[in-house]
């Protein structure tokens, strides 16, 4: 008898967590937060990894339902693509909680997330303020087609386009990836000689960009803003290399997910939207992270 048998004879609820990808530090931290909470509360948490593939995600969630989870925590690969899976969970009477990204369909008990659009705006506002409301800036975009890239870009651009003296001269994708952040920003630097700042849809890319700017001797002339507040980024903020990053608190999201689900299963009332506040991490407040 393998692990599969255990859940059957215990009466404690079993939670299922579907993560969009465990190839990314951010979600690994999210899972860790959830696992920690589950351990503390003495419930079993089954984790599946969609590897950023909505098809695999649908199958994985089906498998979780098959294993008879009492509640589903879903960190979707995409808000649209997750709808049918949520629907299927609804049909089998399993409550669904979404984390980090929402679902555009089906019934979700509560959504635990920070608002990526708001985060994008937050970053833009900081960036514009630091460059004095005028000048040329660049944007490093995430994997085309992912909701994080879309939402952060939307928030960012809504602020930038509202400002008459700031020009977004380069918007290129670096696929949430540090290597590409380095290479792509190297090329952008080549073309844009008056850049005053850059926003990247995640920290990986901004860290690559900083390396490119340092190599070109232009890091001092520029403001860098990232997203996620991963460990490396916090160090960079503390070192004064990175000016700001938008903290998303992934571990907190994971933890809240588990707690909310258990509360709901225990019959306690839960909020339908549980915001995890976004915070701008700068040199001033980095010590608190």
């Amino acid at each position: 008898a393998g692990r599969g048998e255990k859940e059957a004879d215990s009466t404690a609820p079993v939670l299922g967590l579907s993560v969009s990808t465990l190839n990314n530090m951010f979600f690994v931290t999210l899972r860790d937060g959830a696992q920690e909470a589950a351990r503390e509360l003495g419930v079993q948490l089954l984790v599946v990894d969609s590897q950023d593939d909505p098809t695999r995600e649908a199958s994985n969630i089906q498998d979780l339902l098959q294993r008879g989870v009492s509640a589903l925590l879903i960190n979707p690969t995409d808000s649209d693509a997750i709808a049918p899976s949520v629907h299927r969970a609804n049909q089998s009477g399993v409550p669904v909680f979404t984390i980090d990204r929402g679902a555009h369909g089906g019934t979700v008990v509560s959504h635990i997330a920070s608002d990526n659009v708001a985060g994008g705006s937050l970053a833009a506002e900081y960036l514009l303020q630091k460059i004095g409301g005028t000048g040329e800036i660049a944007e490093l975009q995430g994997i085309p087609g992912t909701s994080a890239a879309r939402d952060r870009g939307a928030g960012f651009n809504s602020v930038v386009s509202g400002s008459a003296h700031v020009r977004l001269v380069a918007a290129q994708t670096a696929n949430f990836n540090r290597t590409e952040g380095l290479d792509v920003f190297q090329n952008i630097l080549q073309a844009q000689t008056n850049l005053k700042g850059v926003f990247a849809h995640n920290d990986e890319m901004i860290l690559g960009a900083i390396q490119a700017a340092e190599a070109a001797g232009r890091a001092r002339d520029m403001i860098f803003v990232g997203f996620d507040a991963v460990e490396d980024a916090l160090t960079a903020v503390a070192d004064g290399k990175l000016h700001a990053t938008v903290a998303q608190k992934p571990a907190e999201m994971g933890r809240l997910g588990v707690i909310t689900a258990l509360n709901y299963l225990a019959g306690k009332p839960v909020e339908s939207s549980i915001p995890v506040d976004l915070q701008l991490v700068t040199a001033e407040n980095v010590d608190h992270f």
Binding site: A1, G2, R3, G4, E5, A8, L22, L46, V47, V48, D49, Q51, D52, D53, P54, T55, R56, A58, S59, N60, Q62, D63, L64, Q66, R67, G68, D78, D80, A81, A83, P84, H104, G105, I143, P144, G145, T146, A149, R150
Partner: protein, 328 residues
């Protein structure tokens, strides 16, 4: 001529050689059933079938170019493009669903045919040509969707990803496809000529077979099935994703190879491919039910894949030797 046929109609070794993937399949099935109480349930078996059906449909398509001795790397991108176009047609342009499906299937077949055309016209390596069109098609998908998913698919479309009386519609589609193409392979001149071409292109040409058209046909089928895969996927996800099916091409090739389809061309069939796809689906499902970490799953799948192909080749070799021995 004295050396006569002591040709045997049945041999255990032969049966084993033809169905070694079936054995592995049964073995895995038994293991998972023992290890997880939830594996061997009707519901889960239906799940596996449903989960494998997309892979199986596309893999059945790709089997055709592989039988010619070629390969099609563009299917993953084609799934995404065709899925997006289908979604775009039924939402943005309000095209009736059956018409949209027909249009997308035709387009997939056309794009596949273009692959085939480039391959035969330039006498290029299929691997390289489809590597190029894989990139181009993915780029086209991004341009068409502008990197955004397309949602708001009507129920008349999404029912293709649903279940009817507990039976997944995609599974029904798969069965129809299987029967249709199995018939095409076994009972029509096209099928016979496809195998001939895969066995020896020059021989086929000298026998007056229009090898170019057959190749183009094979790639069209591959493209058409990728389009069907895209349709099923869009229906299953209620939306079309620009980054859908990344890497699916390698999975489909793996499924075909697991099913005993030789990359050298000229042999293999759809039943094998189906079995290969089911094997992969079962593996993913079983490992999930056992709660194996996704990282470890990749290690296990990689190892089982190599071992299974080795077993397949070895049993085939045994079979091959026994048939040669029958002569002397």
């Amino acid at each position: 001529m004295g050396i006569d046929s002591t040709h045997r109609r049945f041999s255990w070794k032969g049966a084993l050689a033809r169905h070694s993937s079936a054995l592995i399949f049964l073995f895995l099935f038994a293991c998972f059933s023992l290890l997880s109480g939830r594996f061997l349930r009707i519901g889960n078996v239906v799940n596996i079938l449903e989960q494998s059906s997309l892979l199986a449909v596309v893999a059945i398509g790709i089997t055709f170019p592989i039988i010619t001795g070629g390969i099609d790397l563009s299917v993953g991108s084609l799934v995404a493009l065709c899925g997006a176009l289908a979604a775009g047609l039924v939402t943005g342009h309000a095209v009736p669903v059956p018409l949209a499906i027909a249009m997308v299937l035709a387009l997939g077949a056309l794009l596949g045919g273009i692959n085939g055309f480039i391959i035969v016209a330039g006498r290029f390596q299929p691997f390289v040509v489809t590597l190029a069109t894989m990139a181009i098609t993915r780029g086209a998908t991004l341009v068409y969707t502008q990197g955004r998913p397309i949602s708001g698919i009507p129920a008349s479309f999404t029912f293709l990803g649903d279940r009817v009386a507990g039976v997944p519609v995609s599974l029904l589609i798969l069965l129809i496809i299987l029967i249709l193409f199995q018939g095409l392979l076994r009972f029509t001149p096209f099928g016979a000529h496809l195998y001939a071409l895969g066995g020896n292109e020059e021989t086929a040409r000298l026998a007056g077979i229009s090898v170019h058209w057959i190749k183009i046909g094979a790639y069209s089928i591959s493209g058409g099935m990728a389009a069907l895969g895209g349709i099923i996927l869009t229906a299953r996800l209620w939306s079309a994703q620009p980054q859908a099916a990344v890497g699916l091409e390698l999975q489909t090739i793996a499924a075909a190879v697991l099913g005993g389809v030789s990359l050298a061309g000229g042999s293999g069939g759809l039943a094998g491919t189906l079995l290969g796809a089911l094997l992969m689906g079962t593996l993913a499902n079983g490992l999930n039910l056992l709660g194996i970490s996704s990282y470890l799953q990749q290690v296990i799948i990689g190892a089982i894949f190599i071992a299974a192909v080795m077993l397949d080749l070895w049993t085939k070799e045994m079979h091959g030797e026994s048939s040669q021995g029958a002569l002397s």
